[in-house]
Symmetry: C2
Subunit: 235 residues, 2 copies
DNA sequence: TCAAAAGTGTTCTCCCTACACCCATGG
DNA sequence: CCATGGGTGTAGGGAGAACACTTTTGA
């Protein structure tokens, strides 16, 4: 570990400064389950373990810029939604040196990333079956999921996770996947239509071989209005 | 560790490391208005400006420990409630060097601090009339208030801000002070009593010379239960 | 003709809302 | 006796929860 030469350590301070990184928890929805994007570490420590994409803060960028840059560099993704949710600071959480990590929750339309896995190994995992994670990333994942569940109660988020056109069933499945509960099909439809954030399209699809289903898209104005003011999703 | 101590008492790193501080936004309720505790700066920069108590993270403490330590050192207060709410990272937010600030929202029972103002000038200000603040602390205050308002919708927080025994009117005034809206007296009482988190005491007080009022305390079990599960405060 | 999926409507109940009356006290 | 503040009750409406029928299609 200690390959450093003294003369390379050219950034000097009067008091000890921790390193600062950002990590991105990236959620995507495959139509059935909520997934999270992980990267296989190619370096020590935790070599071979899965972890969230992230990296060190550069001197001239804000934390959010850093998070988006790392996300782009490591996954070629541009998220629909970005929210800083917690900063992790336990002194021993990184075995190398003291590292403060500012964690972000991001949502992407999962189809955006089809084939995006390149040289570095990046993979989607269903949130209920993620492998052993590096560092304290299991705690970070738990916190991100809790925040996502909290958010979904009061802000519409489907727009950030679903394709442009979708069926009511897909929307319901998304909510059920995130919250881990089951809704009555009829009441769910009534509620969503009543919120007035959906536009029924003239198109239909055959999601199953049984019967065609109407397609909907989000009414962007109403959607952002609700997002701004917040709303109550009771259920 | 990665830092090396050289003769001038300096800590050196291969890459630039920002300084990391914590700041505490401390809210208290005086029975009429929501107040925030500020400290007058005795050093440059922003000498003479008001700011939140806070300071640099020590190598062996977590951010929360740091926040509580600074809070104790600068105000002798022990908060009832502590929540990390945002980390501020714009590169130029401190003119001296790059500083990352992890901000905490804390609630105290305001009577705890009567006379706690000592050598360093610390004062309570009503949140709607705070003076010019140092750094980006005006943004931090706005964010803290937004978080507090968000929290109060779904988690009981009166316990952390009110004295042990209080009247329904005091509880209502607290909610009105935080949310900045007015409630119907009768509906507010009905709602609060229906939530079953209050215990009516046998005692009464004369809050005005007109008529005595019942005293209540929080039903701690129900209160923490609701706090854990969250609840919906509609209004 | 049967099973599976999708679209739609009704009833009940609870809670939020608006609003009014009574009582006790001090002036 | 009246103004002020505190305690309590009621009627109406809206939204969530529970629940059933119809239609379409492929096997």
């Amino acid at each position: 570990m200690f390959f450093l030469k003294v003369d390379e350590n050219k950034y000097c301070y009067k008091y000890p400064h921790p390193a600062v990184t950002t990590d991105c928890v990236i959620f995507g929805f495959d139509g059935v389950r909520l997934n999270v994007l992980l990267i296989k570490r190619g370096l020590q420590p935790y070599l071979g373990y899965w972890a969230f994409p992230g990296g060190f803060l550069k001197p001239e960028e804000s934390a959010e810029e850093c998070a988006l840059r790392e996300l782009r560099e490591e996954t070629q993704l541009t998220p629909e939604y970005v929210e800083q949710f917690h900063t992790y600071s336990l002194p021993k959480r990184d075995p190398r040196e003291r590292v403060i990590t500012i964690a972000y929750l991001t949502l992407v339309k999962l189809q955006d990333v089809k084939g995006g896995d390149d040289a570095e190994e990046a993979r989607w995992f269903p949130v209920d079956s993620v492998p052993q994670l590096a560092f304290d990333h299991d705690v970070i994942l738990r916190d991100a999921l809790a925040r996502l569940r909290e958010r979904i109660h009061f802000h519409p988020i489907g727009y950030d996770l679903l394709p442009e056109k979708f069926t009511l069933k897909e929307l319901q499945t998304l909510y059920e996947a995130i919250l881990g509960i089951h809704f009555d099909r009829r009441n769910f439809a009534k509620k969503m239509l009543h919120l007035d954030i959906l536009t029924q399209l003239d198109e239909t699809v055959w999601p199953t071989p049984k019967r065609e289903a109407n397609l909907y898209s989000f009414n962007r104005d109403k959607y952002t209005e609700l997002k701004r003011r917040g709303f109550r999703l009771e259920f």
